[in-house]
Symmetry: C2
Subunit: 212 residues, 2 copies
DNA sequence: ACGCCTCTGTGACAAAAGTCACTGTGACAG
DNA sequence: CTGTCACAGTGACTTTTGTCACAGAGGCGT
């Protein structure tokens, strides 16, 4: 993986060089296939997860297998939960799955702990990560609490567009799952949106047009 | 306020003595009346909030005045959001209101920033606070996303009991607001719970009995 | 070509939640 | 005592969402 240093520099420019060097030494690199699950609900975490390339989705699952999307992680992001849980070696409350092939660095918990005091840039990074995730979670919560399903669907599509562009490779079934609804309902709502000219439906993908 | 040091020692025993001393010097003390709003949506925060006595509720409001309860803060807690927002002097996304008369300490942002590197116990406290709030928020999210209103009502009552005991001074209207529902619906559900023997309804308060 | 499977569309119905309209009732001020 | 007001209860109805049943359409292996 000769290009790791380049990826690091590209996506984590705010980390001081010495830290980046140590990051390479102390962490393990892992290649994820599309659809692979990195963090699973109930799992014990012993590492922080840094994303180098690709796209991860972070979601919540309950006992009965219902799930819903919390947010996406892009290169340069880290999983806030993995840091928080890691901080006490507790069970994860969430799951993370690779949406595209992805590369992650796994940094053992004790190392990240030490970095907090040793590298100011690491400390700032961690705080920034918490903040960002907290806010995204609040947005999700807002949507679920205040909005009707059709608004939530729009919100969902916009989020996807932000990270994937106007050509979304999604089945109605997947969408229903991530919004914790049912396929038929999503089908109907999508149909309405198509009639309004917001998008075009195809088999297994959706083309977005005039989405505000 | 001669008993401030005692309150601090009682509720923040994990902070090292030197830090507690500095806390007393650098922060301002504020007495809150029941119902008073400490942090308002959209407000700029320049201090972290530490709770010494009383009870605060933290909730989210949207544009149309809908709201819902996120979690409670008890003595010894701090508002995670106030720390995160403060860290960048940004606008608050939430509101906090005193449920009972309460006392808080307001610590100016730059001071808390310095403490992070200066006092290990402060750093641990901040991390712990984030973690705890994140988890409570996740629970709230779970409830809203996966549960039906009657289950959420139970969850809501349990939360209240945790901090207020079995005698809840609440009108149906208030409950409806905090669950972002309507009074009539809450009335009906409460009635059902009363029939099941879980609680007894009175004017302006509710008495809990066999709540699991 | 054929069967098989997944994805999609749709009508009919059921359940949950919200809304409207109205009644009753306790508390309290004057 | 009485008028007023916030709180509480309830029936009837609407809207939203979920469920069931089924049909067509595309892709894919054999």
């Amino acid at each position: 993986m000769s290009h790791l240093p380049a990826l690091l520099q590209q996506h984590f420019p705010h980390l001081e060089p010495a830290l980046r060097d140590e990051l390479l030494q102390k962490s393990t690199h892992r290649q994820l296939q599309e659809g692979e699950v990195v963090v699973r609900t109930g799992q014990f975490l012993r590492s922080s997860v840094l994303l180098l390339s690709g796209l991860l989705k972070v979601y919540r699952e309950d006992e009965e297998g219902n799930e819903f999307l919390m947010y996406f992680l892009e290169p340069g992001d880290a999983c806030a939960l993995s840091m928080l849980c890691a901080a006490r070696e507790e069970q994860s409350a969430i799951s993370a799955q690779a949406v595209t092939p992805a590369q992650v660095l796994l940094v053992p918990l004790p190392v990240t702990e030490r970095w907090l005091t040793q590298y100011p840039s690491w400390h700032a990074f961690v705080i920034g990560t918490y903040r960002q995730r907290f806010e995204e979670l609040l947005q999700t919560l807002d949507a679920v609490a205040f909005k009707s399903l059709d608004e939530r669907l729009l919100f969902y599509l916009k989020r996807h567009r932000q990270v994937q562009g106007d050509h979304l490779k999604l089945s109605h079934q997947q969408i229903a799952q991530e919004l914790n609804s049912s396929r038929e309902v999503i089908s109907r709502l999508l149909k309405k949106l198509e009639q309004r000219g917001v998008l075009t439906l195809h088999r297994n993908f959706i083309e977005l047009h005039g989405l505000a």
